[in-house]
């Protein structure tokens, strides 16, 4: 189990800075996701760590050892490509055994290792097939088996599930998790799908325009996003902006109370609240005496039904949109056109950087 570190990595292409002094560390044996929109630099960072691309500046360290100058073919990394990159003229067996042969493992030993890897990805029996005879999901598993069979120091995955349909993707996410835990490999996973990042990761690093915006455990980032970007990219959020007063942030419909540390009085501040943290409670504009719950009046605009949950779109007093998420435990709590009061706890008001 290797600890991987990226220290001040810089990389530019044609004058565009794709990675801007990026530093991150990846815990041994854990799965860390690099999450971000396209162009954020996440794939470039992955390729720098793997050795596919040399950084303009900075160091990559495996367990403290500087490997920045070590060429790709000696770095012993396992990579699963977005396109799977299976060798079309070789069978599944030959594909998986390729790396073993390069490391000097041949014959019976290679066959055993290959069988073990294929069993781990649940593809036993398909050894003689060629890649074009396999389904997308099967090809993906072969790519995974091929990457892990050589016991690499780090496992890298570049949006490997993006070509699969939704159901298959969800199944593979869970399976991937199991395989990763079973193999104990330090794993770095690139994705633009925030749900995927939340499901799979022990840690998430959010990238935007070549910088790491926030990193940490999924729950930590989700509950306490630091910036507007982090709040909107990982999940959904409602934003309330206003001036700081005694007791909270003053907005059009009242004062938003928070348990976070407030900036100086008079300064402008933005509060983010996750949709599922707000609930509809009758039409009372003010909270009961002894509670410091937040209350906000709003008008229901639309209810989007999705089986287990419903997303309710509302409009606040000053016309800004609000989105809440409720479980459909009983019948709908409101109808379009209703004037309702939204309530949420101050713990869930998160002060974010602008």
């Amino acid at each position: 189990m290797i600890r991987v570190e990226a220290a001040s990595i810089a990389k530019s292409y044609s004058g565009v800075r794709v990675l801007d002094q990026v530093s991150a560390s990846f815990q041994p044996g854990r799965l860390t996701s690099l999450l971000g929109p396209s162009g954020s630099g996440k794939t470039t960072l992955l390729r720098v760590i793997g050795g596919f691309v040399a950084p303009d500046d900075g160091e990559i360290r495996f367990d403290g050892e500087n490997v920045t100058a070590v060429p790709l073919w000696r770095r012993n990394v396992g990579m699963v490509f977005q396109s799977y990159a299976l060798f079309p003229h070789m069978t599944v067996q030959e594909n998986v055994a390729f790396g073993l042969h390069r490391h000097g493992v041949r014959g019976e030993a290679a066959r055993k290792e290959t069988a073990r890897a294929l069993e781990m990805v649940r593809l036993t029996g398909l050894e003689r097939r060629k890649p074009k005879e396999l389904s997308g999901g099967q090809q993906q598993r072969v790519a995974l088996a091929r990457a892990i069979v050589t016991n690499p120091r780090v496992l890298l995955l570049d949006e490997p599930l993006s070509a699969l349909d939704r159901r298959l993707r969800q199944e593979m996410q869970i399976e991937l998790r199991h395989i990763q835990r079973e193999s104990g490999l330090t794993t770095i996973f690139v994705t633009h799908d925030q749900e995927e990042a939340l499901t799979l990761s022990d840690a998430v690093a959010i990238l935007d325009h070549g910088k790491i915006v926030q990193e940490g455990r999924p729950e930590a980032i989700y509950e306490r996003p630091r910036t507007r970007f982090a709040a909107s990219f990982l999940g959904d959020a409602n934003f309330f902006s206003g001036r700081v007063t005694d007791g909270g942030v003053e907005i059009a419909g009242g004062v938003v109370r928070t348990n976070d540390r407030l900036p100086a009085i008079g300064a402008s501040a933005t509060v983010a609240v996750r949709p599922e943290k707000m609930k509809i409670c009758g039409a009372q504009p003010t909270a009961p005496e002894n509670s410091d719950e937040n209350r906000l009046l709003a008008v229901v605009r639309e209810i989007i039904y999705a089986g287990a949950v419903s997303t309710i779109l509302l409009e606040s007093a000053d016309g800004s949109p609000i989105k809440i998420l409720t479980q459909n435990r009983e019948t709908s709590p409101a109808s379009p056109g209703d004037s309702v009061a939204l309530a949420w706890s101050p713990t869930h008001s998160v002060i974010i950087e602008n």
Binding site: G50, G51, F52, L72, W73, R74, N76, V77, G78, M79, F81, S83, A85, L86, F87, P88, H89, F98, G99, R102, H103, R146, A147, T150
Partner: protein, 259 residues
């Protein structure tokens, strides 16, 4: 309208094959003066066996074509690799430089070669013919292998390297195998280009050393010899066979079917 189109097409093809059919028929005609009607005979094929100049010219043609094929394919493949895979300054210019041998009339190139080789002492003969033929074949080889390289995927080589292949090993075990049909097609093409080449060979031949097309030309100029029909028929057969093999290797013609 479709039937009209098809009829016209077949008529055009008939026009294309008319003289060829005549020539093949004449090869089997006993008459030495191409008089009709045709009296079937194999005597011209037989007399080929004792026609020393024709035989030596044929040997030269085959020798040069084989050598051209090997050299042009090797040299052209290397150039195609460099041109297709890496982006560098001057790449488009280099691509453009491949055009002159194909675009400039062979008369000009042939005479230029004659002038230059004579001046620099390279002279004429088999070596000069080889130099000329290879030069003509190179652009075609680069084109064909270049087209084959475009279907190649860079991520396969990266995958191989991530698994421990050095760049050279990755090239030979991953990049080369799918390229083999293109390489073979290019080699065949180079062979055909050399075998068929007349103009350049004409200027670079000497009275004692020439290729088959040149020999045929001088025979025509000297006077009709029916043996020419015989050797041409054989030539035609060989060329056609080459083209068919080449077509098989590159799946020419027709609408492309989806994979």
């Amino acid at each position: 309208m479709i039937a009209l189109g098809r009829t016209y097409l077949l008529a055009t093809i008939a026009f294309l094959y008319l003289p060829i059919a005549v020539m093949v028929a004449m090869a089997f005609n006993d008459s030495a003066l191409y008089t009709l009607p045709i009296e079937p005979s194999l005597r011209w094929f037989a007399s080929l066996a004792v026609n020393a100049p024709l035989q030596s010219a044929t040997r030269n043609s085959l020798l040069i074509a084989s050598a051209t094929s090997v050299i042009a394919t090797a040299v052209g493949a290397m150039a195609a690799l460099a041109l297709e895979r890496k982006r560098f300054r001057g790449r488009s210019l280099l691509r453009l430089l491949l055009l002159p041998p194909i675009a400039i009339p062979w008369l000009i190139i042939g005479t230029a070669m004659l002038v230059f080789f004579f001046w620099t002492g390279i002279g004429r003969g088999i070596h000069a013919l080889l130099i000329g033929h290879v030069a003509l074949a190179i652009p075609y080889v680069v084109l064909i292998i270049g087209a084959g390289l475009q279907t190649l995927r860079a991520d396969l080589e990266e995958a191989a390297m991530s698994l421990g292949s050095t760049p050279i090993h990755a090239f030979f075990s991953i990049t080369l195998p799918p390229l083999l049909p293109s390489v073979l097609a290019a080699a065949l093409f180079a062979f055909a280009v050399s075998l068929d080449q007349f103009v350049i060979s004409y200027f670079l031949s000497t009275p004692g050393v020439s290729t088959l097309p040149v020999e045929i030309y001088s025979s025509i100029r000297k006077g009709f010899t029916p043996e020419i029909n015989a050797i041409s028929t054989i030539f035609l057969g060989v060329s056609s066979a080459l083209v068919l093999v080449f077509a098989q290797l590159s799946h020419l013609g027709g609408k492309r079917d989806s994979r």
